[in-house]
C-alpha cells in the first residue's frame, strides 16, 4: 500500500516553522502494519520517517504496536525487541533531523514483554512508555501475553524544531480510558499528549457511527480541554482476522476543538502545526491548571489510604 499525503492538508513549509520558535509540526503516520512482520514494518517506518522529515515535520507519531501489528497472541515473544536491538538502533539512527514515536513489543532482561511506545530523538532512544492498562476483556487479551508498565512520566520534547520547552506525556490507547493516567501526566506539566492507538471499530448501531470512534472523539476533546493541552491521537488502520481498525487520527487543540479533522480509514500521513500561543490562549481563557487543587487531592488520597490501612 502506498501512503498518500492527505490532499486537504498541505505539508508545512519548513522555513515557516523555523521562524516560529514556539511551534513545531507533528506528522501522524496512520498506517496498517503487517501482522507479525517486523522486517517489513521496519522498512515502512524508515520510509515514512524520511518522508515526514522531508515534508518538514519535527516529530512523527506512529500507532500502537506499529512495528508488529496488534492481535499477536503467541507471536509476542517472536516479534519482541530489546531496547538495544538492531531494529531500534536503525530507527533511532533515522531520527536525527526528526523525532519519532514508534510502537513495539519490548522484551526486558527478565523476559517480560511490554506493549511499548518508544520516543526516538537525536539518534537515540530518549524515552520509553510501557502501556500500563492492558485491556483483557471482550476482543482484547493483552494480559495473557504482555506485562503491564507501572508509571506515567512526563518528559521534555527534544524535537529539533521546538526551540522552547514543550512537555509531553505518552499514553498508549487503553491508558487514555483511565482519567487518573491523564491526570497524573498533566500534574507533571504536559503541553502535548502523544497517544498511539490500535483501536478496533466495533458497534455499528445507527446514530453512533462506529461506537469506539465516538468514544475516542469524546475522550480526546475532553482531555484536551480539561488539561488545556494538545492531544495527538494516532490510530492505525487495516484489518486483522476480520477486525477493522478505524483510523480517525487527529490533533485536538488545547481548547478542546479538533484542529485537524479526523483522518478516514485509509493509510495516510496527517500533518499539523502545534503552537505555544494556542496553549497560552486556552490557559488564559480556562486557567484550570492554575486552579487545580493538588493539595486537596493529596489530602483526600492520604485519608483514603489511612482508612484502608485501618480496615
Amino acid at each position: 500500500m502506498i501512503v498518500q499525503q492527505r490532499e486537504t492538508v498541505a505539508a508545512p513549509d519548513v522555513a515557516d516553522v523555523a521562524a516560529e520558535a514556539d511551534a513545531f509540526v507533528a506528522a501522524l503516520a496512520q498506517v496498517a502494519p503487517r501482522l507479525g512482520d517486523v522486517a517489513a514494518n521496519l522498512e515502512r517506518h524508515l520510509e515514512i520517517i524520511a518522508q515526514a522529515a522531508g515534508a518538514g515535520a519535527n516529530i512523527v507519531v506512529f500507532p500502537e504496536l506499529s512495528l508488529t501489528g496488534y492481535f499477536l497472541k503467541d507471536l509476542v515473544p517472536d516479534v519482541a525487541l530489546r531496547i538495544d536491538s538492531d531494529e531500534i538502533s536503525r530507527l533511532a539512527e533515522a531520527c536525527r533531523d526528526i523525532d519519532a514515536v514508534i510502537g513495539c513489543v519490548l522484551e526486558t532482561d527478565d523476559t517480560r514483554f511490554h506493549n511499548a511506545s518508544v520516543y526516538l530523538s537525536g539518534g537515540r532512544v530518549a524515552r520509553v512508555h510501557a502501556k500500563v492498562y492492558l485491556p483483557t476483556y471482550g476482543i482484547f487479551d493483552e494480559q495473557r501475553y504482555l506485562a503491564a508498565g507501572d508509571r506515567f512520566r512526563a518528559f521534555d520534547l527534544t524535537t529539533p524544531g521546538a526551540n522552547s520547552r514543550w512537555r509531553a506525556g505518552m499514553l498508549v490507547c487503553e491508558d487514555m480510558w483511565h482519567p487518573s493516567a491523564v491526570s497524573l501526566l498533566a500534574r507533571q506539566g504536559v503541553d502535548v499528549f502523544l497517544v498511539p492507538s490500535a483501536s478496533p471499530g466495533r458497534g455499528v448501531l445507527r446514530g453512533a457511527a462506529l461506537g469506539t470512534a465516538h468514544s475516542y472523539d469524546a475522550m480526546t476533546r475532553t482531555y484536551a480541554q480539561l488539561f488545556t493541552a494538545y492531544v495527538v491521537y494516532c490510530n492505525r488502520v487495516g484489518y486483522e482476522d476480520g477486525i477493522a481498525f478505524w483510523g480517525g487520527s487527529r490533533v485536538v487543540g488545547p481548547d478542546g476543538a479538533t484542529v485537524i479533522e479526523p483522518a478516514g480509514a485509509d493509510e495516510t500521513i496527517v500533518y499539523q502545526r502545534l503552537e505555544k500561543t494556542a496553549l497560552r490562549r486556552a490557559r488564559i481563557a480556562y486557567p484550570l491548571l492554575r486552579d487545580e487543587r493538588h493539595d486537596v487531592t493529596d489530602a483526600e488520597t492520604e485519608r483514603i489510604l489511612r482508612r484502608r490501612t485501618r480496615d
Binding site: G36, L75, G201, V204, L210, Y239
Partner: protein, 284 residues
Amino acid sequence: MSPTPRPSASSVDALEIDTAVVEELLCGFIHDEVHKVGFDSVVVGASGGVDSSLVVALACRALGAEHVYPVTMPYSTSSVQSEEDARAVCAQYGIEPEVENITDQIDAYFTRHPDAGLTRRGNKMARERMTILYDRSMAHGSLVLGTSNKTELLLGYGTLFGDMASALNPIGDLYKTQVYAMGGALGLPVRVLTKAPTADLWTGQSDEEELGLRYAIVDVVLFRLIDERRSRAEVVAMGFEAALVDDVMRRVRASQYKRRPPVIAKVSARTIDRDFRYPRDWGR
C-alpha cells in the same frame, strides 16, 4: 395474571444499523482480507436469497464485478424463480452466474439411500454445493465467500461443512433483519427483499416455518441476549414470551459445536487452538 405484552415496534429499532458505515466496513474487509493473502477474486454461491445476494453486491463493490464469480447450483426441485433472482442480482453488476445443476450427483447418491429424509437430503445438497464452490475457487484462483448470517449461525440453522463453510464471511455478524437493511441500502431487487426466506432445499421450504420462529422477533431476542448480554429474566420483562426466550437460548447452546473447529484431544504441550494461538492473518 396480566397478559404478556407483545414486543413493541420500537424494539426492532435496536437492530438498526448505519448502513453506510457497515458497507464501508464490509467492503474494506473483503478487499483487505482477499488481497493480503494473495488473491484478487472470490467465488460466491448465489441462491437468489437475500444473504447471498448481499454478499455478491458487497463483493462487486469491494473488488470490482469482474473479480466476482457467482455460482448458482439448483437441484431439480429448486424454484426456477430462485435462479432468476440470482441472475437479477448479478445483472445489476453486469455479470452472470455460472450454473451448476446438482441433480445428477444428488439423485445418484440417494438412489442407493431412498429412505433418507428431507434433512439428510438438504444437508447432502448443501455439502455438494460446498464442494463445487471450493472446486470453482481452485479453478478461478479465488477465495470462497460465506453467506451465513448471525441469526443462522447462532441458532445453528445451517449445514456444518455445507453452507457454513467458507474462507471469509462478510455477513456473519449481521442479523437477518440487518441483512435486509443492508440489501435495501445497496438496492437489491425488490423481489429478493420481499420474498419469504428459504433455504430452497425442497419445494415450498420456508425458514420461518421450519424454525417455528419469526426473524423480526428472534433477531431482537438474540440481540438482547447476546449483544447486550441481558439475562433471561430481563428479556422476558421486556415483553418476550418466556417459552420463546428459552427456545432461543436452547438452540444457541445446542448448536455451539457448529461454531467451533473440531475438538482436538490434548496430548502435547502445545495443542492447536488451546495453547498454540496464532492469528489467522499471521505475517499478513
